[in-house]
C-alpha cells in the first residue's frame, strides 16, 4: 500500500458520515450475534461511536473527494448544527437507556436506528443539492417512523407510528413535487447553481414560486410549524417517552438547519418571496403553541405544543434574515436542546406508584419528597418560559434583537405577547409541584449516574448562562459572519 493510498484511506475515515456508517454497521452486527446483554452493549457502543463522530465533526478536516462538493457542503454553520445533532443523539440515548430496560423494550435495534437517523440528519444538514436533501430527509424520517412504532403491543405506539408515516410520506411527496418544479424551471438541483441561475433570471417566475412554496411546506412539516403541526402532539403522546425525548431533542435541529440553509442559500436574493410564508408560520406557531398547550393534561402533549411554540421563535430568526438572526438561532437552538435534555431526563426517571409519570397532576407534592428534583423542574420550566436569570430568556432575547434590527418590530412584539401567554402553563407546572394538595404518592427517582451527570450539567448551564453569555455570543457571531461573508 503506497503512502498516497494510505493518506486517501485516512482522509476517507476522517469523514464523519463514512465513519458513522461503518461503525453503526459493525455495531449492528455485534448486536445481532450477541446472545446476552445485546441492548446494553449496543447502546454503550453507539454512544462511543457517536462521540467519535462528534470529534471528527469538530476536527473538520478538509475533504474534497471526486464530486462530493456538488452534493455535500461544509461550513461553520453546518459544523455547528451537526455537532448539536450528534450531541443531542448521544444525550437522548443515554437518558433513555434505563427507561427501555424497565419497559422491556430493550431491543438492540433502537440505538442502531437512532444512529442511522443521526446519519440522515448529518446528510440533511450538509446537503448542497435537492436530491441529497431529499435523501437525507427520507433516511432520517424512515428511522423515526420505525422507532415511533417500536412498542409493538401498544395500540397508541402503533397509531403514532402509522400517523407519522402517512403524514411524513405526504409531506415528502409535497417536498419532492416542489423540488421537481424548481428543477424544471432552473434546470439544476444544486443549491449553488440554483442561486446563480436565479440571479441571472432576476425574478422568480410562477413555477419557481410554486416550487419554493411546496418545498417550504414539506420542510414546515418536518419542523412541525403551524399549520403543518397536527402530527406532533399525537406522535409525541403515542410513542414511548424515551422516543419522544429523541423526537423533541434532535430532528428539530436538522430540520431547522435545512430550512435556514434552503431559504438563505439558493433563495437568499429573493427575501420578499419567502419571508411572508416564514413570518406567517412563525406567528401562527408561536400563538398556537402558547394557547393550545394551556388545556393539556399530559406532560408529553404539553411539551409537544411547547416545541411547536419554540419553532415559532426560531423562525423569527429566519424571517429577520440577517447576521443577528443566525446568531440568535444558534444560541436558541443550543439552549432549546439543553432544556429538552434536562426535562426529559427527569421525566424518564421519575416514577409514582411504580409507573412512569405521564400527567401533570401526578406531579403534585413532588416538592415535599424530592425537593432537588422539583427545584430542577422549576428551573427548566422558568427557562422554557423565558424568564430572566435563566438561559431560555437569552435565546428569546437575541432572536427578538434580530427581529428589531430587521425592522420586524411587530414580530418581536407578537413574540413577547405569545411568550407571556405561554408562561401561564409553564408556571402552572411549578404551581402543581409546590402548592397542590398531596394525594397518596410514592415517588421514586431511578436516575442512572450517566443521565444524572447530564441533568446536573444541563441545570448548571441553564442557571448560570447569565454569567457567561459572551462565550456563546462569540460563537454565534463568528458563525453568522462566516455565513454571510
Amino acid at each position: 500500500m503506497s503512502l498516497r493510498m494510505q493518506n486517501n484511506l485516512l482522509a476517507i475515515f476522517m469523514m464523519p458520515e463514512i465513519t458513522l456508517v461503518l461503525l453503526t454497521t459493525i455495531i449492528l452486527l455485534i448486536g445481532l450475534f450477541q446472545k446476552k446483554n445485546s441492548f446494553s452493549n449496543v447502546t454503550n457502543l453507539s454512544v462511543i461511536a457517536l462521540f467519535f463522530v462528534f470529534f471528527l465533526i469538530y476536527l473538520n478536516r478538509e475533504f474534497s473527494f471526486a464530486s462530493y462538493n456538488y452534493f455535500f457542503k461544509s461550513s461553520l454553520l453546518i459544523q455547528f448544527f451537526k455537532s448539536i445533532v450528534v450531541l443531542g443523539s448521544i444525550a437522548s440515548i443515554i437518558i433513555s437507556k434505563s427507561y427501555f430496560e424497565e419497559l422491556k423494550l430493550s431491543r438492540f435495534e433502537i440505538p442502531v436506528l437512532i444512529s442511522f437517523s443521526t446519519l440522515g440528519m448529518l446528510i440533511l444538514i450538509s446537503s448542497n443539492d435537492l436530491i441529497s436533501m431529499y435523501l437525507g430527509i427520507e433516511l432520517q424520517s424512515l428511522t423515526l417512523y420505525v422507532v415511533a412504532a417500536i412498542k409493538r403491543d401498544s395500540i397508541q405506539s402503533a397509531e403514532s407510528g402509522v400517523k407519522y408515516f402517512v403524514l411524513g410520506a405526504l409531506s415528502s411527496g409535497i417536498l419532492l413535487y416542489g423540488c421537481s418544479l424548481i428543477y424544471g424551471f432552473t434546470g439544476t438541483t444544486n443549491f449553488e447553481e440554483i442561486r446563480l441561475s436565479l440571479i441571472s433570471i432576476n425574478h422568480l417566475s410562477l413555477g419557481i414560486i410554486f416550487g419554493l412554496v411546496f418545498v417550504l411546506v414539506g420542510l414546515a412539516f418536518k419542523v412541525s410549524a403551524v399549520p403543518f403541526h397536527m402530527w406532533t402532539p399525537d406522535v409525541y403522546e403515542g410513542a414511548p417517552t424515551s422516543i419522544t425525548a429523541f423526537f423533541a431533542i434532535v430532528p428539530k435541529v436538522s430540520a431547522v438547519a435545512i430550512i435556514y440553509r434552503f431559504c438563505l442559500e439558493p433563495f437568499g436574493n429573493f427575501y420578499s418571496e419567502w419571508s411572508q410564508i416564514i413570518i406567517f408560520l412563525s406567528i401562527s406557531s408561536m400563538f398556537l403553541g402558547a394557547i393550545a398547550a394551556i388545556a393539556q393534561q399530559s406532560i408529553k402533549r404539553l411539551l409537544a405544543y411547547s416545541s411547536i411554540g419554540h419553532v415559532g421563535y426560531i423562525l423569527i430568526g429566519l424571517a429577520s434574515a440577517n447576521a443577528a438572526g443566525i446568531k440568535g438561532v444558534i444560541i436558541y437552538m443550543l439552549i432549546y436542546v439543553v432544556m429538552n435534555i434536562a426535562i426529559f431526563s427527569i421525566i424518564l426517571s421519575l416514577k409514582n406508584n411504580n409507573s412512569y409519570i405521564e400527567k401533570i397532576s401526578e406531579l403534585s407534592g413532588l416538592s415535599k419528597s424530592k425537593p432537588i428534583i422539583s427545584l430542577s423542574i422549576a428551573i427548566i420550566m422558568l427557562s422554557l418560559a423565558g424568564i430572566p436569570p435563566f438561559a431560555g430568556f437569552f435565546g428569546k432575547f437575541y432572536i427578538f434583537i434580530a427581529a428589531v434590527e430587521a425592522d420586524l418590530i411587530f414580530l418581536a412584539v407578537l413574540g413577547v405577547i405569545s411568550s407571556v401567554i405561554s408562561a401561564y402553563y409553564y408556571l402552572r407546572i411549578i404551581k402543581v409541584l409546590y402548592f397542590d394538595e398531596v394525594d397518596d404518592c410514592n415517588y421514586q427517582s431511578i436516575i442512572t449516574s450517566q443521565s444524572l451527570v447530564l441533568l446536573i450539567c444541563a441545570i448548571l448551564f441553564l442557571s448560570f448562562f447569565v454569567f457567561y453569555p459572551s462565550v456563546f455570543v462569540t460563537i454565534g457571531t463568528t458563525i453568522s459572519l462566516d455565513f454571510f461573508q
Binding site: 471526486a66 436506528l113 435523501l135 433516511l139 412504532a149 434546470g187
Partner: protein, 203 residues
C-alpha cells in the same frame, strides 16, 4: 416513420382502453390484469421515446413486482365490491364536475398560449440526446457523479430492512430450528442408549 406512428397509436390506444377497463370491469382480478396490460403498453411508449431503461424498469418493477403483488392481495382479500360501488351514483355529479374542469384546463393549455409562454418554460434544459443507449449513460453517472446519492439510497434500503424486521419479527418458542453444528456433532454413542430391560418390568 409510418411504423413509428402506427406503433405509437397502437400502444397509446391499448393503454387508454385497458386503463378504462381497469375502472369499469366488474371482476377485480380482471382489473389488475388490465392494469398490467396498461403498464406494458406504457413501457412500449417509453421505448418509442428512446427511454428504454425506463421502459425495462417499468416492466420489471411495476409489472413484475407491484402488479403481481397487487394481484395476490386482490385474490387473498375478500372485498365486497358491490358494496364499494353503492355510492357511485351519489358521487357521480361531483366526478362529472371534476372531469369537466380537467377537460377545460387541458383545453386552455392546448389551444391557448397562456401556458406555453416563454417566461414559464424558457429555462428548462433538455437532456442531451446521444447515440449511446441510456442504460449505459445512467451506469456511467450512477457510480461516479451520483455515487454519494447511490450509497445513501443503499443505506435507506438497509434501514427499511432493519425497520421491517424489528417491527414484525417475533421469536417463537414453539418453532423448532435446525442447528447444523448439533447435527454434525451427533454420533451413535450419544443418540443410542443401550439399556438392559428386566423381564416383565419394562422401562
Amino acid at each position: 416513420m409510418i411504423i413509428y406512428t402506427l406503433s405509437f397509436y397502437l400502444f397509446s390506444t391499448i393503454a387508454v382502453l385497458s386503463a378504462l377497463m381497469v375502472i369499469s370491469s366488474k371482476n377485480s382480478v380482471h382489473s389488475v390484469l388490465f392494469l398490467i396490460l396498461s403498464f406494458v403498453n406504457a413501457a412500449g411508449l417509453f421505448v418509442l421515446l428512446g427511454a428504454e431503461f425506463l421502459a425495462m424498469i417499468l416492466l420489471v418493477v411495476y409489472v413484475g413486482a407491484v402488479a403481481v403483488l397487487f394481484l395476490f392481495v386482490v385474490m387473498m382479500l375478500d372485498i365486497n365490491y358491490i358494496k364499494l360501488r353503492e355510492g357511485f351514483l351519489q358521487y357521480l355529479p361531483f366526478g362529472v364536475l371534476l372531469g369537466i374542469v380537467l377537460i377545460v384546463e387541458l383545453g386552455i393549455a392546448f389551444f391557448t398560449e397562456t401556458f406555453s409562454e416563454m417566461s414559464l418554460v424558457e429555462y428548462a434544459q433538455m437532456p442531451e440526446i446521444t447515440i449511446t443507449e441510456n442504460t449505459k449513460l445512467l451506469g456511467f453517472v450512477l457510480y461516479t457523479k451520483y455515487f454519494y446519492l447511490f450509497q445513501i439510497s443503499g443505506i435507506i434500503l438497509l434501514v427499511a430492512m432493519i425497520g421491517s424486521i424489528t417491527l414484525t419479527l417475533r421469536q417463537r418458542e414453539i418453532s423448532k430450528k435446525q442447528i447444523i453444528s448439533d447435527q454434525n456433532n451427533a454420533d451413535a454413542s450419544k443418540a443410542i442408549i443401550k439399556k438392559k430391560i428386566k423381564l416383565r418390568e419394562g422401562i
